[in-house]
Symmetry: C2
Subunit: 495 residues, 2 copies
């Protein structure tokens, strides 16, 4: 552990030493040695900018190991930074100017490749897996896989790098069918923040292996503070060759879960998405992206709309129904019941529906001052929480608009609130924290939900971690952190 | 930590103290206080019998906590024992007579129920999950779920209790479609072997939750040495309403993986099993169970046979092909290729095919002296390992017969060897260890495989854990064990 005085001391000798490890193009520091991009590494998507003492960009796991060992010895704090598209402020330095950024930019080849290999990805089709460096972007991985008929099935709006996806255990819109990053990670190579910069190799890529602790799970979802994942073996799946989507209008809020259970039974794993969208979020998307087609009769947006998707990995056979027909049959079956949970349904072009779904996020950002919560519930409680909020929020915080959307199929909810930009309460520094704390309290205490469903822990929600994690659990987390990576890694405190 | 002298001392005062916690029927000890069943708790399926100082059977998590705290204070080693159907000798005491068995027999209700509640299982249909005590048997859970149209999808030959399934992270025959216990565990309650007998509650049952370390993964698959799981929240799935199966004869060994990839693409997740069976294992099953029908022309068993299963959660619709037709269409598609990987195929009654598959295990047990290995590989390496062994084993160990079967779809292999019971080498105490060590060496060193795919670590494979786990990993495992459960829990040493 380092003292504050040590931490604040990063000197030119450190730059020389780090350059010896990563080379000229592997290190940047302020005052003319940073290049034009330096500020990019200091700035995160949602929570303002910090100030970096330097940015170090190792090209492989070995260099990462030497960087971590060096910084451990010097008591320098390193902030692991992957695609820097995270939403909780975990991947950028604080404002002290004493922390170094450990960028994954150049971690795009695995140890088995030469550094000048043209291949970035090792594909094992028989095992349906790939071996990649932590710096490979999701889009690059999928561009590599698609011609081969495969995909890494984590469907996100952003384009992160693999290391950050592992560190935050991202979920996304097709979790219902494919699970999260954790469920699709078969192995990792990890570097610890200790005296030796220990490299641990859990890269066998086996699907069944029960020989003691399954170590990868400690490093998945813990934002890099227990160790830096430099390489990974990932599960990949067959690219769907057929898909269809529908917008469903549930009879009422209670009908949403009934519809989910009906769809699951009647479509099994053909069901690849079951997403919920509030009227306010949909209207915000239409306002922000005028080219979006409004599919609702008379343009009247229903209170709540579900986007359901069916897909299959094979091309339609002559002897089979296509998926549009299956969707129609399934909806007709559901409708037969007099108390059908379904009020209306629109089958149309999947691209159009997904365009609407993907426009929600930007839409709500432009509808006013956005207060975003990434929460989750047992699936049934998601709609109960929404109903409670629709009732209580206007009384507690009038003139705050709910424009949520989310992953009903897995209980994840992007619970967004929007406040008019000219609202005088925005000038009151106590207002926003009190709103945040009230919402999270309801999520955690009333509904036993999570205050971070798929964005993990960073500076922005550290306070909630501290508040809602039992003392004993924090004590144990501290011991595990101390055992694995006693050095200063990341700015998140689990213990 | 306890000294040996402390460990060997279990006295009548301990029986009194434990009885105070668990009541008369919660404690048994030798010399007339054990009941007729006492030896059952001392004996494991595959690796002989030990000797217990006592058997303590707490009825809930609170009692478990008090038992662990007491035994921690007294330095008594407890061996957690669930259904005692494990195959690596992890659930029974050693021969010293100083270890107590911590039985899960009575852990059949969760903390939310009264101890005299008639319900043993809390079903949350909206969340597709159940909350159960660790002592509930798999068969009882499924008997509860089936009338509701659901199943806990871990398909095993044995009938373990849930706690043991979690402790060993069982996989089974439908892993390909449903994953292992880890992937179907949404939460656990766990009791630590520390001074307080700390109870940790990770029972929220959320599907998406990334708020620090995901603790359950430390307790899954580590045979109870890091803490005793007393309750769990499990994912359940819709019970299939249609299924079909076929026996496929691959053109040659290399064709097996091609067939797997073809089936995955053409059937997607309708494919729920892809199991491999060697001719020797099949013949052993026919010998042992004469009532099994031999489906092969002229009774000639092919060298290697695959059992593939398709299933769906919905009842066949009039407008759809049934699954038998789908299987025929898919096999015809594969056959179209001149270099089709398929030599022959038999579509028949799924029950008959599964009866054959499930008879393999008993069959090989009766074919001679069985030497069983539970190993796994990257999927492609499974067949390469088999080919290597077919070549090398007869030279290295003549007159030893390979009668393997396994889960080709996930790389898991029950690599069984059979030796004639009258073979004089069986009297040579060095023979069996040398055979075991040679096979495992090939698995781990040549093929980067696992020496314990789905049975976890126990006394029988502790030596391989010690040999093949890197020193640094063992050191870290020891620290984690010390942080979580410093007391003597289980007889497996991870660190």
């Amino acid at each position: 552990m380092t003292s504050l005085s040590q931490k604040s001391f990063v000197a030119s000798q450190d730059f020389d030493a780090l350059k010896d490890i990563v080379g000229e193009k592997g290190l940047m520091w302020p005052d003319g040695h940073g290049g034009d991009d330096f500020a990019v590494y200091e700035t995160c998507v949602r929570y303002g900018a910090g100030k970096a003492a330097f940015v170090v960009r190792p090209a492989n796991s070995k260099e990462t190991s030497r960087v971590l060992a060096y910084c451990y010895g010097r008591g320098i704090t390193l902030i692991p930074q992957s695609g820097n598209s995270g939403l909780v402020g975990a991947s950028t330095p604080d404002s002290s100017g004493t922390q170094g950024v450990l960028s994954f930019d150049r971690l795009i080849r695995t140890s088995e490749m030469g550094t000048d290999s043209s291949d970035q990805i090792i594909f094992d089709e028989e095992n349906r897996s790939v071996m990649v460096g932590a710096g490979v972007r999701l889009s690059d991985l999928n561009a590599f896989l698609e011609p081969k008929g495969y995909v890494f099935p984590i469907d996100l709006g952003a384009d992160p790098r693999i290391g950050g996806m592992i560190a935050t255990n991202t979920g996304g819109a097709r979790f219902l069918r494919y699970g999260d990053v954790r469920q699709n990670t078969l192995g990792v190579k990890v570097v610890l923040a200790d005296e030796a910069g220990t490299e641990l190799d859990f890269m066998s890529g086996l699907r069944k292996d029960n020989t003691g602790i399954d170590w990868k799970h400690l490093f998945i979802g813990t934002t890099g503070v227990l160790g830096v994942v430099t390489e990974a073996v990932l599960n990949v799946v067959r690219l769907p060759q057929q898909s269809t989507a529908a917008l469903l209008v549930p009879r009422d809020e209670a009908a949403v879960l009934k519809l989910l259970l009906e769809m699951e039974q009647r479509c099994d794993t053909n069901l690849t998405a079951f997403e919920g969208m509030s009227a306010n979020a949909i209207r915000a998307a239409f306002d922000h992206v005028p080219s979006l087609r409004n599919p609702f009769p008379g343009g009247d947006v229903p209170d709540y709309v579900l986007l359901v998707e069916l897909s299959r990995t094979w091309a339609k056979r002559e002897s089979e129904q296509n998926l549009d027909e299956l969707m129609e049959v399934v909806l007709a079956e559901i409708w037969e019941d007099e108390e059908a949970p379904l009020e209306n349904a629109f089958i149309g072009r999947p691209e159009e529906m997904w365009a609407l779904r993907h426009a929600l996020s930007e839409g709500v950002k432009h509808a006013g001052k956005l207060v975003a919560f990434d929460v989750s519930f047992r699936r049934g409680d998601l709609m109960r929480f929404r109903a409670f909020m629709a009732q209580e929020l206007p009384e507690k915080f009038p003139n705050v608009w709910i424009c949520d959307f989310g992953h009903v199929g897995d209980g994840g909810l992007h619970f967004n609130l929007s406040i008019p930009q000219d609202d005088p309460r925005l000038n009151d520094t106590a207002f926003m924290p009190s709103l945040r704390e009230w919402v999270v309290k309801i999520v955690v205490e009333k509904y036993n939900g999570s205050f971070s469903a798929e964005h993990a822990i960073g500076r922005s929600n550290q306070g909630f971690y501290d508040l809602y994690t039992p003392e004993k659990v924090k004590e144990l987390a501290g011991k595990i952190k101390g055992a694995l990576s006693p050095g200063e890694l990341g700015d998140v405190k689990l213990g």
